[in-house]
């Protein structure tokens, strides 16, 4: 890891926000420090309300922060930008654009020539397995296909870091497993640097090179679990017999449950 360069760096990040109903200040994040190295997939798990989505929104530039520092490729994050692509939880592809026009949106915004856009769109349509659906509108797609389209849209804009906010939480269990395997394949093929937020321990262990376990509110980095399984070997069929996967998953599960019980006792 040391030989690699850190693409995303977060130092001493704290965040408070006023509660929507009571107006009381909520302490969401406390002294977050993390580094994402080039080509690495890092997952973030933690109990509900641990601030993992808040962290993602700050990194996406959608939520302003005051305390601490976050930067991508040495550039301090001050707002949304194409250097950070985001895959949202659900229904964030534009319903009035076809699959290919959604996927090419980032390049269109950048003002690339049409031929260049359609060439690159086709590449990502194929990568996520949406061939034959290029001219469909989102309402004609299944939940899993919508998320594939969302992933392709983000990848096609070629961000330095891809931020994923529980992207597979809203699809059915079967589809979720397929999408996880596909993301693994995509991570292997594209060598993208990915931050993956999830509340699913299995998902976090399956996808991550490193898994960051967050504590209950205020969110702190509780522990880092390194998952040492080559991407080529990550297929769900094999995982149930994979000693490393089981060890990591159980470790993450234990850490998360400690936090859940803390949250309940409070």
């Amino acid at each position: 890891m040391n030989a690699m360069t850190a693409k995303l760096v977060v130092e001493g990040l704290c965040h408070h926000y006023p509660d929507e109903y009571t107006g009381e200040s909520v302490h969401a994040l406390e002294d977050i420090n993390l580094e994402l190295y080039e080509g690495e997939l890092v997952s973030v798990v933690g109990p509900s309300g641990c601030g993992k989505s808040t962290l993602l929104n700050i990194l996406a530039g959608l939520l302003p922060y005051k305390v601490g520092k976050a930067s991508v490729d040495g550039k301090v994050i001050e707002g949304p930008g194409p250097d950070r692509g985001v895959v949202f939880q659900e229904h964030a592809i534009l319903p009035w654009r076809t699959v290919s026009r959604n996927i090419g949106h980032g390049l269109e915004i950048r003002g690339l020539p049409k031929e260049e856009i359609s060439r690159r769109v086709q590449e990502y349509v194929d990568l996520v397995g949406l061939s034959g659906f290029e001219d469909k509108y989102p309402h004609e797609l299944s939940g899993g296909m919508k998320q594939r389209c969302a992933v392709a849209r983000t990848l096609c804009a070629d961000p330095i870091v891809m931020l994923m906010d529980e992207p597979f939480a809203a699809v059915d269990a079967q589809t979720r497993i397929t999408l996880q395997e596909e993301l693994n394949r995509i991570a292997l093929a594209t060598k993208k640097t990915i931050l993956f937020i999830t509340h699913s321990v299995d998902e976090a262990a399956f996808l991550a090179d490193r898994c960051l376990v967050f504590s209950a509110r205020p969110g702190r980095l509780k522990q880092i679990v390194t998952v040492d399984i080559p991407r080529e070997k990550r297929i769900w069929e094999n995982m149930n017999a994979d000693a490393e996967f089981i060890r990591c998953r159980d470790e993450i599960l234990r850490l998360v449950r400690e936090e859940v019980s803390v949250a309940i006792e409070e």
Partner: protein, 270 residues
């Protein structure tokens, strides 16, 4: 999830609409004709209270021959078209501009809702006080009537666009202008379609009312003077023209546009 074709084309649907309509229309016209003829035959003094369909048809021939009908109809239609086009052309950007900023949108929403509910007829007296019984007065009332429903709908449409669509575009690097062009405007399209239909529908009523009150020719003028001059056939003829014109306009122009937008946006699935 199997791949299905892009869905029926607009032309195809238009054709089907015509076919089904043709059948229903024939039945409807015959039915109305029979009931109307019977009632007209049963009452005393039908020429004053309810002339028969034939009498109305004859009066239309008479008015066509004199050139009054095309002239009145043309006046009314021109007022509707110019008033609606200008109303929409001003109302859409206005609603959009108000809708862009959420704070401004929330502030203006009740005001716009207020004006959209005060009908053109209700503002007629004040406009007459300003400009008298003139073409200007009629035009002002039509413009007012067309403007608020569309502006209000566009404003609502922009406000209702999920923030995640805007966030998604911003994280793809969209500028403020690109967010408006790629998210807010297309996102408000179903509301723009609905609002346009409402605006034109209200404007149509306002044109007729305006012509009756301000007396500057047109279909409204025709039915108003028809009553004064005891020419009931002309009154009925005018009413029929008003209704039929709207049905044609709505059915073959406004509704398909609205339905197509809403369907493409995936709000309704066939």
């Amino acid at each position: 999830m199997q791949s299905k074709s892009k869905g029926p084309s607009l032309a195809w649907r238009f054709q089907r609409l015509l076919q089904i309509d043709a059948m229903n229309l024939v039945i409807l016209i015959i039915g109305v004709y029979i009931v109307w003829s019977i009632i007209s035959a049963l009452i005393d003094n039908p020429a004053r209270y309810l002339p028969s369909p034939i009498a109305v048809a004859l009066s239309s021939v008479d008015m066509l021959y004199k050139g009054l009908l095309p002239s009145y109809f043309g006046d009314t239609l021109m007022r509707l078209i110019s008033g609606s086009i200008i109303g929409l052309a001003v109302g859409i950007p206005f609603g959009l501009v108000l809708g862009i900023n959420r704070t401004v949108a929330d502030m203006f929403h009740p005001i716009m809702n207020f004006f959209q509910s005060v009908s053109g007829i209700a503002i007629f007296p004040i406009v007459v006080i300003w400009w008298g019984n003139s073409d200007k007065t009629i035009f002002a009332v039509i413009l007012y009537t067309a403007f608020f429903p569309i502006a209000f709908n566009v404003l609502s449409g922009v406000r209702e666009i999920p923030i995640r669509y805007i966030s998604a575009a911003r994280t793809l690097g969209a500028s403020r202008f690109q967010v408006i062009k790629d998210v807010l405007l297309p996102g408000a399209m179903p509301h723009i379609a609905t609002g346009s239909r409402l605006s034109i529908g209200f404007a149509w009523r306002a044109v007729i009312a305006g012509e009756m009150l301000a007396g500057q020719q047109g279909l409204g003028w025709m039915i108003f003077t028809g009553q004064d001059a005891d020419r009931t056939a002309e009154v009925v003829l005018g009413m029929m023209l008003i209704g039929v014109t709207w049905i044609i306009l709505d059915h073959y122009l406004l509704r398909p546009f609205e339905a197509d937008t809403i369907e493409r946006w995936g709000l309704v699935q066939r």
